[in-house]
C-alpha cells in the first residue's frame, strides 16, 4: 500500500492554497494513498514508446485577427466582486 505522509498532505495543501485541521489531514493521507494505490495499476503497462495524448483533436494553435473590439464591461464585472472600489477589485493589503 502506498503511503502518503501527513507532511506531504500539508505540502500539497499549501500548494493548492487549502488549509485543513489535523483530522482532515489524516483522512486525506489515507484516502489519497488508497486512490494513488489504485492508480498504480497503470504501471502494469509498458508505455515507453507510447506518445502522450494531451488533447484528442488534431488541432494546433488557433489565432485570431488582431482587431480591436469593444470589450470594456468593467462595471458589469465589478458588480459581482466581493469588494470593489473606484473601478478596481479590492483585496487585503499586500505591501506594508
Amino acid at each position: 500500500m502506498a503511503t502518503i505522509t501527513t507532511e506531504e498532505v500539508k505540502h500539497v495543501a499549501a500548494l493548492a492554497r487549502l488549509e485543513f485541521n489535523e483530522e482532515d489531514i489524516q483522512q486525506f493521507a489515507h484516502q489519497l494513498a488508497r486512490i494513488i494505490d489504485y492508480i498504480g495499476k497503470l504501471n502494469e503497462l509498458d508505455t515507453a514508446d507510447v506518445p502522450p495524448t494531451s488533447h484528442v483533436l488534431p488541432i494546433r494553435n488557433i489565432v485570431k485577427a488582431d482587431a480591436a473590439k469593444p470589450t470594456n464591461r468593467r462595471d458589469d464585472f465589478l458588480e459581482g466582486a466581493p469588494s470593489a472600489q473606484e473601478g478596481y477589485f479590492e483585496v487585503p493589503k499586500v505591501i506594508e
Binding site: 502518503i4 506531504e8 498532505v9 505540502h11 500539497v12 495543501a13 500548494l15 493548492a16 492554497r17 487549502l18 488549509e19 485543513f20 486525506f28 484516502q31 489519497l32 488508497r34 486512490i35 494513488i36 489504485y38 492508480i39 498504480g40 495499476k41 497503470l42 504501471n43 502494469e44 503497462l45 508505455t47 507510447v50 506518445p51 502522450p52 495524448t53 494531451s54 488533447h55 484528442v56 483533436l57 488541432i59 488557433i62 485570431k64 464591461r73 458589469d76 464585472f77 458588480e79 459581482g80 466582486a81 466581493p82 469588494s83 477589485f89 483585496v91 487585503p92 493589503k93 499586500v94
Partner: protein, 486 residues
C-alpha cells in the same frame, strides 16, 4: 395526456397548429414542478419570470405565423454549470452561491436564438465532480423512479427533472459520464457529443480536455433537435471544431440492416448487475432482429480508464479551480490576515469535501517529482485507450454496451468511499478519454423497477450512426414511453 408529459417534437406540432400556447405549456411544467419538486429536488433556481416572458415571445411568433425553430416555446432546464446571463450560476458550490453570470454561454445564446423557454437551473455535484448529485452544496436530488435512490451525477438534476416531466428537455455536461450515467439511472436519453462539437465557452471548466455539453431528452428525436440547436463552431472556444453544420434529424431513420455493432467483452465485467446485463443483452438482440450484424470485440485497455481519468481530470481541475480565490466573484471568507490567507480561507470554506479531494489529488499528481509518474503516464495510457477504439472502429460501425454497471444506488451508500464512487464511471470514462460521442438510452427496468441504460458509442463526429441505431431501437421497443410513478 398532460402537456408536460410530451416530447418537444410533439409539442412543436401542437404549437405550430395553434392547438396550445407556450404559456399554457410553461404553466403545465410549473404545475408539475409544484407537484413533484418537493420530493425530487432537481432545481437550484427556478426562472419563472423569464420563462413566461420567453413563452409570450414564442406565442407571438406562432400567432404571427413566423418561421419558428423546433425548440421555440419549449420549456428547457439548464445545468447550473452553464453560465446564464443575469441568472444565478452556482455550479452547486458555496464558493459561487451568489454568482450572477455577466454573460451567456454560447449554448445559451444558441438556444435563445431558437426561442426556448428557460425553466430553471438544475442541481448537480459541486463543479460536476461526482456520480450521484450528493456533492451539491445545496440539496440532494432524488431519483424519480425511487426516491430512496440517487439520480446519478453529476448532471443528476437535469436527468431527474426530465424523467419527472418537470422539464421537456435539459442541458447537462459530461466529463467522465456526467450526462450518460444519470440518463441511464433516470431512464431518459442523454448524449455526450464528440469533443469539440459543442462550444465550451461559458461552461464553467472542470477538466478542459474532457468537458462537453450535451442534451437530456425524453426520446431520440428530441436529442437530435437539441444537438441541432447547440452544435457548431465558435471562435470563442479554441477547441471548437470548424465543420459544416449537419441536420441531425436526417439520421432519424428506422433501419439498421447491415450496420455492424461491436459488443466489447471488457464492458461485461465482474460486478455488472445481473438485471443490467440481461436488459442490455435483450437490447442487443432487438438490434440483431432489426438486421444489425452483432460482433464481439475487445477494448483491452478498458480496465485502465478509471485510473487514467482520475489523474487527468483532477490534474486539470486543480488548475481550473485556481481561479476561485475570493477576489473577482463569488464567496470571500472574512477575517483574513493577508492576501494569501484570504485565498486559503476562501477556498477552504467555499469548496466542499469532494472538490477539495480532487484539487489535492490533482495538485499531488502535478507536483514536482511526480509529473512523469502520474500525469505523463496517464496521458500515454490515454493514447492506448483511444487506439483501442480506433482499432475497433475499423471493423464495426458503433459499439453497444451498458452505460452504468449498476442501477441507481441508495442515497448515502457510496459517500464514505470515494474510490467506490469513482468506479461508478467505469463504463463511461473510456469514451470521454477518447473524445468520441456516446448516448445512453433507456432499455428497460430491473426487477426492482429501476431504469437500465444502453450506451451506444461511435467514432468522432459520427453521431449520425448513434442516432440511427438509437432511433431504430426506440421505434422497435417504445420503451421511452414508460414513466416513473411519482
Amino acid at each position: 395526456m398532460p402537456l408536460h408529459e410530451l416530447a418537444a417534437h410533439e409539442l412543436h406540432e401542437k404549437l405550430k397548429a395553434r392547438e396550445i400556447t407556450s404559456v399554457e405549456l410553461t404553466q403545465s411544467v410549473y404545475d408539475r414542478i409544484s407537484a413533484v419538486e418537493r420530493r425530487v429536488q432537481g432545481y437550484i433556481t427556478l426562472t419563472k419570470d423569464i420563462a413566461f416572458e420567453q413563452a409570450e415571445v414564442a406565442d407571438a411568433g406562432f400567432e404571427r405565423g413566423d418561421e419558428m425553430q423546433p425548440l421555440a416555446g419549449i420549456p428547457i432546464a439548464v445545468k447550473d454549470v452553464i453560465c446564464t446571463k443575469d441568472v444565478l450560476t452556482t455550479c452547486g458550490s458555496k464558493i459561487l452561491h451568489n454568482f450572477i453570470s455577466p454573460y451567456d454561454a454560447t449554448v445559451m445564446t444558441k438556444i435563445r436564438h431558437q426561442g426556448f423557454v428557460m425553466i430553471g437551473k438544475t442541481n448537480m455535484d459541486e463543479f460536476a465532480m461526482g456520480s450521484s448529485t450528493e456533492n451539491s452544496a445545496f440539496k440532494i436530488t432524488r431519483n424519480p423512479w425511487n426516491l430512496d435512490t440517487i439520480p446519478g451525477g453529476s448532471s443528476g438534476g437535469s436527468a431527474a427533472v426530465v424523467a419527472a416531466d418537470a422539464a421537456i428537455c435539459a442541458l447537462g455536461s459530461d466529463t467522465g459520464g456526467s450526462i450518460r450515467q444519470p440518463a441511464a439511472l433516470c431512464g431518459v436519453v442523454g448524449m455526450k457529443p464528440t469533443y469539440g462539437r459543442v462550444s465550451r465557452y461559458g461552461l464553467v471548466a472542470f477538466a478542459s480536455s474532457l468537458d462537453q455539453i450535451g442534451p437530456f431528452s425524453k426520446d431520440v428525436t428530441d436529442c437530435a433537435l437539441m444537438l441541432n440547436a447547440i452544435c457548431g463552431h465558435d471562435p470563442m472556444d479554441s477547441t471548437s471544431v470548424n465543420r459544416p453544420d449537419t441536420d441531425f434529424t436526417q439520421n432519424l431513420v428506422n433501419g439498421i440492416s447491415g450496420i455492424k455493432i461491436g459488443i466489447p467483452k471488457e464492458y461485461f465485467i465482474e460486478g455488472l448487475d445481473a438485471d443490467v446485463e440481461a436488459r442490455v443483452r435483450d437490447a442487443i438482440e432487438v438490434l440483431r432482429g432489426c438486421g444489425a450484424i452483432i460482433k464481439e470485440i475487445s477494448l483491452p485497455h478498458t480496465e485502465y480508464a478509471i485510473a487514467t481519468y482520475y489523474i487527468i481530470a483532477p490534474a486539470e481541475a486543480s488548475a481550473n479551480l485556481a481561479r476561485y480565490d475570493g477576489v473577482r466573484f463569488g464567496f470571500r471568507a472574512s477575517n483574513a490576515e493577508n492576501l494569501i490567507d484570504m485565498y486559503r480561507k476562501t477556498r477552504s470554506q467555499g469548496f466542499g469535501e469532494e472538490v477539495k479531494r480532487r484539487i489535492m489529488l490533482g495538485t499531488y499528481a502535478l507536483s514536482s517529482g511526480y509529473y512523469d509518474a502520474y500525469y505523463l503516464k496517464a496521458q500515454k495510457v490515454r493514447t492506448l485507450i483511444k487506439s483501442d477504439f480506433d482499432s475497433a472502429f475499423e471493423t464495426v460501425d458503433v459499439i453497444a454496451a451498458p452505460t452504468s454497471p449498476t442501477p441507481a444506488f441508495k442515497v448515502g451508500e457510496r459517500t464514505d468511499d470515494p474510490l467506490q464512487m469513482y468506479l461508478s464511471d467505469i463504463l463511461t470514462t473510456p469514451a470521454s478519454l477518447a473524445g468520441i460521442p456516446a448516448i445512453s438510452m433507456p432499455c428497460g427496468l430491473t426487477h426492482s423497477g429501476l431504469p437500465v441504460g444502453l450506451q451506444i458509442i461511435a467514432p468522432a463526429f459520427e453521431e449520425n450512426k448513434i442516432l440511427r441505431v438509437a432511433y431504430t431501437y426506440e421505434q422497435h421497443t417504445g420503451r421511452h414511453q414508460k414513466k416513473p410513478n411519482l
